[in-house]
């Protein structure tokens, strides 16, 4: 998964620093939390406050940020705007990113209308489907194109990321065409493991798998295999919550 690696002890050879995958995944959460603070007019946050809002612990947060450099002020905290900018740049969000969404069924339509995408810098540049009943219609103000024109659409405009909400059976084939056309980032919602060359980053979101993981934990509890501290604080008023965040 990691992109670059330093040979131990050598200084950063080419660019800045190596950022662990686990850290990258959390940066997005910090950014979300920072936006919240900015909206409230808060201009400085401590690692404790930011970690609480982002659902991490402050030691992890500080270590994560240390990979980006030393931008905090000891005894004070982090400047919200500076940190927002720093993380945005690190995630490559300075430039808005164009997304093509393939598969405009139930889930695809929901994704097309998902406000969280545009509000966080992602523009859906094209909708594509194979169903001729849907091709030509407009969804959320965008025309649905035919899957046959996939290569034309990709050639006509710069596309950074493809989102797949297609039936499992056709998803690998579409993935292959995307890869051939030069797409290197894919977010796949179809319940199938995609094969792609290593220079292509594929992320899988499997909704049923998430439920199965929860089911496992329920099962553990049912069998009395759950260790201690259940029911903890269950009756405390919300103001006294001191629970962990997801």
């Amino acid at each position: 998964m990691s992109i670059r690696r330093e040979t131990a002890g050598s200084g950063a050879a080419i660019g800045e620093a190596v950022i662990p995958d686990a850290t990258v995944a959390r940066l997005a959460n910090y950014l979300r939390a920072l936006t919240g603070f900015a909206d409230q007019g808060v201009s400085t946050v401590s690692s404790d406050a930011l970690a609480a809002a982002a659902g991490a612990n402050s030691a992890v947060l500080r270590k994560d940020l240390s990979y980006l450099g030393s931008y905090g002020i000891r005894g004070v905290g982090y400047d919200v705007d500076t940190l927002t900018l720093l993380i945005s740049r690190t995630l490559g969000l300075a430039a808005h990113r164009s997304v093509v969404l393939i598969g405009v069924g139930n889930l695809g339509q929901a994704l097309a209308g998902y406000a969280g995408f545009s509000s966080r810098g992602f523009e859906i540049a094209a909708l594509i489907d194979a169903d001729q009943q849907r091709v030509g219609t407009h969804i959320c103000g965008l025309r649905v194109h035919d899957i046959g024109d996939l290569e034309l659409i990709l050639a006509a405009q710069p596309i950074d990321i493809a989102v797949l909400a297609t039936p499992a059976a056709v998803t690998q084939e579409i993935c292959d065409r995307l890869v051939s056309a030069g797409v290197t980032s894919i977010l796949n919602f179809a319940p199938i493991a995609l094969a792609a060359p290593s220079h292509v980053e594929v992320r899988q979101v499997d909704l049923a798998a998430e439920l199965q993981i929860l089911s496992f934990h329920e099962h553990q509890k049912e069998n009395g295999l759950y260790n201690a501290e259940q029911e903890k604080a269950k009756t405390l008023p919300p103001s006294e919550r001191h629970w962990a965040r997801a």
Copy 2:
């Protein structure tokens, strides 16, 4: 994240074995792949074949399965049906699980209609929303209930898992009510880190965060920080793909 832990060297104290979180997450993928093999009438699979279909490597697969016991046959492989049953039982899918879906907006409606849930043993037992325009309507054959009746609905039937597709601003409050009502497994699609006591398992799916992680990798490539072996096999025919799976 782990539920139980053995003190080093001591035998399994209470039940069977400790299953690492990383393994649990992959079991769902193996199950999906096994279903595929069963549909094709295949009755035995090797770790290599199953790993390829599930997007893992065979060493990981074998290690994962070893946590569940030794059910493979050396020189042959695994029996598809036996393994399917074993994983299903491990994930607690023997009993069908009831899900309550809260928030029937864009995304919530898509989730309500998502075939992958019912086909994999999850039954949506109730839909709930706060919007009076939606309350009382029927979506995918299910009546939408008022959020005010949340506690009544949970009391009237056994619910294993709550799925939240609500606006971020109200999600923590709903989470608190769910926890008070005894729900211990939550799948959250709202872009906010939920606070919950430690006996409650919360899984977060943040769609925009997924795109941001992809954006990071795109950014790395743009800056020439990507290491070697690009373009590899890009022109091979699909039949000769030997790429890694997601």
